[in-house]
Symmetry: D2
Subunit: 366 residues, 4 copies
Amino acid sequence: MKNNIGTNISMTLFGESHGAAVGVVLDGLPAGFAIDTDRIKSDMDKRKAKGRISTQRHEADAVQIVSGFFEGKTTGTPLTLVIQNTNTRSSDYTKTHGRLRPGHADYTAFEKYHGFQDYRGGGHFSGRLTAPIVAAGSICRQILEANGVQIGSHIEQLYTVHDDVFSNDIDVLKDQIHTVNQKDFATLDPQCETEMKALIEKVAVEGDSLGGIVETAVIGLPTGLGEPAFDSVESILSHLLFSVPAVKGVSFGLGFGFANVKGSTANDDFEYKDGKISTLTNHNAGINGGITNGMPIIIHTCVKPTPSIYKEQASVDYLTKENVKLQIQGRHDPCIIHRARIVIDSVVAFGLLDLWMSKNAQGDLV
Amino acid sequence: MKNNIGTNISMTLFGESHGAAVGVVLDGLPAGFAIDTDRIKSDMDKRKAKGRISTQRHEADAVQIVSGFFEGKTTGTPLTLVIQNTNTRSSDYTKTHGRLRPGHADYTAFEKYHGFQDYRGGGHFSGRLTAPIVAAGSICRQILEANGVQIGSHIEQLYTVHDDVFSNDIDVLKDQIHTVNQKDFATLDPQCETEMKALIEKVAVEGDSLGGIVETAVIGLPTGLGEPAFDSVESILSHLLFSVPAVKGVSFGLGFGFANVKGSTANDDFEYKDGKISTLTNHNAGINGGITNGMPIIIHTCVKPTPSIYKEQASVDYLTKENVKLQIQGRHDPCIIHRARIVIDSVVAFGLLDLWMSKNAQGDLV
Amino acid sequence: MKNNIGTNISMTLFGESHGAAVGVVLDGLPAGFAIDTDRIKSDMDKRKAKGRISTQRHEADAVQIVSGFFEGKTTGTPLTLVIQNTNTRSSDYTKTHGRLRPGHADYTAFEKYHGFQDYRGGGHFSGRLTAPIVAAGSICRQILEANGVQIGSHIEQLYTVHDDVFSNDIDVLKDQIHTVNQKDFATLDPQCETEMKALIEKVAVEGDSLGGIVETAVIGLPTGLGEPAFDSVESILSHLLFSVPAVKGVSFGLGFGFANVKGSTANDDFEYKDGKISTLTNHNAGINGGITNGMPIIIHTCVKPTPSIYKEQASVDYLTKENVKLQIQGRHDPCIIHRARIVIDSVVAFGLLDLWMSKNAQGDLV
Amino acid sequence: MKNNIGTNISMTLFGESHGAAVGVVLDGLPAGFAIDTDRIKSDMDKRKAKGRISTQRHEADAVQIVSGFFEGKTTGTPLTLVIQNTNTRSSDYTKTHGRLRPGHADYTAFEKYHGFQDYRGGGHFSGRLTAPIVAAGSICRQILEANGVQIGSHIEQLYTVHDDVFSNDIDVLKDQIHTVNQKDFATLDPQCETEMKALIEKVAVEGDSLGGIVETAVIGLPTGLGEPAFDSVESILSHLLFSVPAVKGVSFGLGFGFANVKGSTANDDFEYKDGKISTLTNHNAGINGGITNGMPIIIHTCVKPTPSIYKEQASVDYLTKENVKLQIQGRHDPCIIHRARIVIDSVVAFGLLDLWMSKNAQGDLV
């Protein structure tokens, strides 16, 4: 409900872009898991703005573990992660907060909170809130990895540039996941990275922005994760993915492509081999009836272009009720998809761990 | 959690395809709402299999209101809807239940429930479970309509056939919603309905099946519905939509099309006119930062082809662990999208009412 | 929330006293558990009104398992229990429903539901709703018993008559639990049963009613059940116990008696013996810091006198807003504590199974 | 679930006694409420250890509002309160943590968390965690007070010393609530305060400790708060009260005294006067069928003696599995009930606000 999610483990998110800090409380984790804090840092770095294609706002993302962590291991009680906000220029916002930025939550926040919201930099609706999500996700992911699960994402499409897609060959896929997880700007084809970056820089000069599509793969999951009806794997993961700012589309396996094939193609035939059952194809992305079948989960997530652009836009001043021409100032990314990718990995990790922590899930955690 | 969903109102789903009955408990409804039971029946009829393009299994979908309904109105206590199962031929299933049907939950149910699941006709995973959802959704929808909200869906794509799309003109859209809600097979273009039905019949002869894409529109919503972070409108609705069997993709507004436009196009500029704020375009589908802005919500939902096909498929017998050739018998739809459309309307209605029942949607205490 | 409770397993309650049926949906149960339906019947019988000391309303409590039960075992999907209402004399109520019965929910239901509640026989607030709770509790209890847990309750006090109390000797306690579970009117001292029944008959003649205190014992629990902070064993069990109509007090171990002893007495010293840690006394009722320590849980629950009495009472007609003299008609128990005892056992069983189904609970289920 | 509670508003608790900080996230609050931070401080002071009768550990309880608070008002997004831990002498604990303190959660924490818990000073099970609860409760209470609700508690019994009880006269009760809220050591009879303090000092010299009973009154509530079945006012409040360390008994109105009266006494007759319905007596403590009837809520809560005593106790070293004689060192209160009183007020305030934030407490949709 609201800023808390999860059934078996839960995540409670708090903070605003220009408040004292942002953070998250992660509850229900198994006790005694040794957390690699360097790994948290490296995951946080993947989210960090870098180079010419990113905002010039340099965030200090030092993650402090405030509770639930003792002598290097989880205690089993609430694990709280806090990231102090620094380098925030509130002066950028105070004068103009009535002027609604198109594509942002400014207007809806005014309506929902009657003007009492912290409007600075998007406040609670800022992408800044994804920082604690990544920190929490990093811990969930480490637990999953210790149980043989690997997660990886890459930018499959950025406007006109298309990357390769994940392989259907499990061994190749494993290598691809390993590869993208080493990169800051995750593409399968290195040439594609160059083109995408060039495109972002070009659009930045125009004062415009871009979005794209992220492809995510998860391998090594046990069968039996997910619940019938309302807690299907797709339901749990989409709920989390649509909580990530700017996400407007989520699909599994063939996704919207299922409209273009017949059932005889859509179905994944079964095969019994080497003592185990698997499917010959994986159009359903490792999920049947909302429950994992042991095959890779393949997700496509569409991230819309950054709403903050420098081009002049038509808008309204909520306070004066005047139509205005809006010229956004400040520091903004012309594209966030390369940063969003680790946020996507993080919520997927949380969702899958939550399902795995259900006692009536098939697979047991180590 | 599992078969219960909702924060302010909740829906608890139960039953199996070939059990005694299927049903739902709807809790938290406002007291004193006069339910139109004929409307429930007409919504149930939209879900019913009809004509040559549908299964020959004729379901008796008489909805009994067991509780929470007194003297024609809701009592405010749990409203329970039960639909008896009739005309179930269990003999069709008992002999062959180890033989896993591709695209179905047979395998994952075996793995999750260790073989104790009711395997007849898909049991708890059957599309039959959408009947009580439609009955519950019909009540939620009536409450929304009494508050000025209209919901409508049509089949935007069926394999190679494409229907028109919903208009950006609110008045035209209102008429379109009215029109599709009158139809059993919902398309905007009547000619398109003829072509789609012909296509379904053709594929049925092949022993194959089809899926498609449903476009859903919601108008008349107040601003301020939805919560930041995890209970965004997109999160709540996608969670419910992916609980509908066969749904594999969900998007809002431009959806995956956001990858093909720049921010200057993606953003919806604001305008103040006749005392109210609205947007000039509606690419974000009436949702900013997860919260409604008063514009129409536009959803695209992809429904995969019916997994039950008559063509021979490769499979495995879970019990004997043998590779087998599977030839599905029984009565099955070559396409379910025309029936799925009302299920989609129903879960959308539930989700929006749930969000509306949040006190801080209005933010007042007394 | 509202009529749904539980984290790992959940129970959703529905129905009214004079509606079509009452029932409950039990979700999250382990799959493959063989339910003894005769045991459900015998538990239901313990709740049933019997003999001269009980109401003359003879309820048909045939429990129908509508879903989640296949070939004699739980399927792991929602298990629904429905009990049809029969022998309801609505005519007793219709004429007088505006006349508020003291001690009942008539007034508060009017206020909460604005007069739309089903007022017949207390509607959703009727003790009739405890029937499905007992049926659900019987299943939870059978699962606990299969895991070595025993639950038993007796009437420790009825007005001026006091029964013996449960023994601190675990072997004696085990026998006592066995004994009370054989009885319809549960006391440890048979002589005490005779006195209590005589007292109830005497008070019935006066047209008055009685309440009392139930003592409940649970043995065989593993250590580690319960959560810190808000899901302590005491929190979970009291939440459920106070959901039972007429319960006004709940305590654990010494309970309110803790006010009369010093810490040196209140504390239970530890002892390591025969390879296990236990406490020398059990004043804290097997619960430290909200988590089970393996010792017996001892609960005291106070059930107030039946609010329905035949003596004339001062009241108000809610509809006419007149002060009236109320003379309750119909069939009512002069005492319900002997029937409440199995309801108490049932909610305790549900609560403990819910805690046990938490993956991070120490003990694993068989 | 676990460390998160609440349906309409929620509270997520985190931290350990000797960790970096303790805190709470309060979500779902109405936006625009002006918080009096001095009031938070004065409520925190009531919880603070003071004078000779309390521990010599002086806690720095400076409450930092990290989020959800902007320009002096609530924003409507998660409000996070953090209290840094200072003056913690970890050295007191490290050497002896295997030695289980009777009456504490040491043993159960070892069993539940397999030894990975933060054992210093009780860790997550420390009374220190009540500090953020009081801070959160102070905010909830301010909101309730702004809506005409008053809450007050006093020590009704401390071992052999008994205070007066709250009056049945609403005007007198109002004054009594005002009086006890002015006091650090809350009794109605000043003479009683002197006797209780003297008794605590006497027992402290013995190296022993005391508990007692707190009586709490709530006035000014609207009718209709609370839900049928599982979210009765008693269920919600007892769930929270039993989450407070050392609470072992909770009752409402006559409580366990209901066993000693007949129905004709237990029932509260109704009266219509000056345009409103009220009851002539209030034995049911303003709650009928789990829902408020507008009369005062009267709660009795039993707090056991402080488990930390200086007398030698028999115990076990969990790590060496040896029986040991335990002599607790460090700084501990001989009695905590005078400090627990504000914690009780706080959870009661949270619970009632949560119920009030339910839309169907008023039942309207728009």
